[in-house]
Amino acid sequence: MTSSDGFSLNCPLQKSDYPYVLLAHGGGGRLMHRLIEDIFIPAFGSQELELRHDGARIDIGAANIVMTTDSYVVYPLFFPGGDIGSLAVNGTVNDLAMCGARPVALSAAFIIEEGFPVESLIRVAQSMRAAADAAGVRIVTGDTKVVDKGKGHGLFITTAGIGEVKSFRLIAPSSVMPGDVVLINGDVGRHGMAIMAAREGLEFETTIESDCAPLVEPVLKLLNAGIDIHCLRDLTRGGLATTLVEIADAAGVHISIEEKAIPVREEVRGACEILGFDPSYVANEGRFIAFLPARDADRALTILKECATDFAPALIGRVAERVPEGHPGLVTMTSVIGSERIVDMLSGEQLPRIC
């Protein structure tokens, strides 16, 4: 880079000076957040977006509803533990659940590439129906578009959903309080490593299956038991670490995490070790973190354990009483050998290391 590229020592602000969108802008890290913060939120200007949550809570007369949307471009379309259809239903259902809502209805829009096998489309549609039934939600409207061969990647799906608010409190980062505990409903990193292994043809002794699953049941059970949930967030792209940083930044708090308390399966750890990945940054599709008062921790863990089949929920950290001076929000992690380090968002995607 030369000085003619226009940076100057006087300007402390980073500039969004990429003239083109990079793949890394979709990685869920800092680059993607810059697109959202610099382009979308200013352009749309609605107050709901200011909450920076997974969905928006809107009041229509007496009814309190939550609305959200998400697009799915996963490749390969079918992978161990799920497919693009189950992902498209669960991802949107989970965003509604993270707002403390019971999912009511979904829309589904399909962008299909010319030449896509109808048989695969049937498989995807059936998988969506099964996932919707499991989550107790109906797919009530949709749209279909076909693009020229070479202009798509087989199949893209966009789903939107509405849900009925079930919580008295506003479940959002702004409700996180000092002293809150941070619970996770299971082990991290499975979805990302399953996709990676399927996409790149990596073979391990045991097949890593995606954790793709609806999160409605555990969330509604927590709410029904009267647990005073302050914030929920499902861990998708960017993984646990990125989600923690998002919440710490949005809530202006210091979250302190114990590395050894984070559940990671052996096969996921092994695959991550080989590729030089940190499981805390790997994507999930059936995991969430919950912020709640310490007094509710034991009861909440018991409920999460009832909902878990083959994975172990855990208490992984706490919200500190104070944020150190000069930090808007902060996440720190006590490493396995006992020292403390800062946890940051990735800038783009994790890339495999070389040697």
Partner: protein
């Protein structure tokens, strides 16, 4: 996990920390060569466990960081050509050249593909016989055998559309260059375990003796590094100068002989420019004349390039261990992993990226 958890045990780490404190009587400056070790040190906070008078310097052992701007510019030129599929390890895609990086070439329509092995690039060449496939052959002695395997296979199967942009560098000439610098501060080395798994460490003995610098071949887990540091300080305190091996579970003195023979079959030492360290004689590996047809620079007629680097970036001094990342005025402001000015901010093994990710600000100000 078996063979991992044993090397991350907090009680054993605390014992090693106490032992290091017990034997340290004077200030010492130790350089870890390998970027993988730098990353492990900063991630696990190993430097924070050491006595205050022990300084760890982060060496030039990250292949992404030391690849010259000229080679990156050449990669950008090749990747921009419509007749070429350019294959690279992922880390390399974000390193800034004079004008742009490889990911930007991809966004502009270049066919840039991330691969995990040179053999993946070979497969792409077989499947795309109407196009040229170039693999960015970067790395230290560790990745050299896999690169040679790809070239030997290409020769064996008569592939004419595969070539390599050669950027392999060697550790020992860089260590010698650092030690012969009049401003050298390094008193001892943690030698890179993975490189020594291939090369062995017999070669290092003359280097240690000439410059009177103890070395310990060290692994990558927290306890490996703590034990390597302990063994190094013990040598320094006792006035011994030896090449010792902490990483005995992977490294033998003579190295991996079949791998060495394979490297020698197709590659030979060549002069190479390092980012931050400039030209070091015989510090790279290039193709032997018998295999020169696989050399991408030659195949596509690439000649000397004029290059330009950020005038602010001090990554050269950081790679030489003369400065630390937070000594740089641009660190964390003008230079971040999203907008790196130099390679040490790009690679996950680069010192600046490691500091940015784990140490951007003091936790307890």
């Amino acid at each position: 996990m078996k063979f991992i958890d044993e090397y991350r045990d907090p009680q054993a780490a605390a014992r090693l920390k106490r032992e290091i404190e017990r034997i340290t009587t004077r200030p010492w400056t130790i350089m870890e060569i390998c970027g993988g070790q730098t990353h492990a040190i900063v991630k696990n906070g190993i430097d924070l466990l050491l006595p205050e008078n022990i300084t760890l310097l982060h060496g030039p052992g990250c292949p992404v960081c030391v690849t010259s701007v000229e080679l990156i510019d050449k990669a950008v030129t090749l990747a921009s050509r419509p007749d070429i599929i350019f294959c690279s390890f992922g880390d390399m895609l974000r390193v800034p050249g004079t004008h742009k990086d490889l990911l930007s070439v991809k966004a502009e329509g270049g066919d840039v593909r991330m691969v995990y092995s040179p053999l993946d690039a070979l497969k792409i060449a077989r499947e795309n016989s109407d196009r040229q496939v170039v693999f960015f052959g970067i790395g230290f002695e560790t990745t050299a055998p896999a690169n040679v395997a790809a070239i030997l296979q290409a020769r064996q199967t008569g592939l004419t559309n595969f070539s390599m942009l050669m950027a392999i560098v060697l550790v020992k000439p860089a260590m010698a260059a650092l030690l012969s610098d009049p401003e050298n501060r390094v008193q001892a080395f943690l030698a890179a375990g993975h490189v020594c798994a291939v090369t062995g460490y017999a070669d290092y003995e003359s280097l240690a003796a000439t410059y009177h610098v103890p070395m310990v071949v060290t692994g990558f887990e927290p306890l490996d590094i703590l034990q390597g540091i302990y063994m190094t300080i013990a040598q320094l305190e006792q006035g011994r100068v030896e090449v010792e091996n902490q990483y005995t579970r992977a490294v033998r003195r003579e190295g991996n002989l079949p791998a060495i023979r394979m490297i020698e079959k197709a590659l030979m030492p060549v002069d190479r420019k390092w980012r931050g360290l400039d030209m070091i004689p015989a510090s790279g590996l290039g193709l032997r004349p018998e295999y020169i047809e696989f050399d991408a620079e030659r195949r596509f007629g690439l000649t000397e390039y004029e290059t330009a680097e950020s005038p602010i970036c001090i990554s050269g001094l950081i790679l030489q261990g003369r400065k630390k990342p937070h000594d740089c005025p641009a660190f964390g402001t003008d230079c971040t992993p999203e907008h790196p000015l130099g390679a040490t901010m790009v690679s996950s093994e680069g010192a600046c990226a490691a500091y940015y990710r784990y140490r951007r600000t003091a936790i307890h100000p």
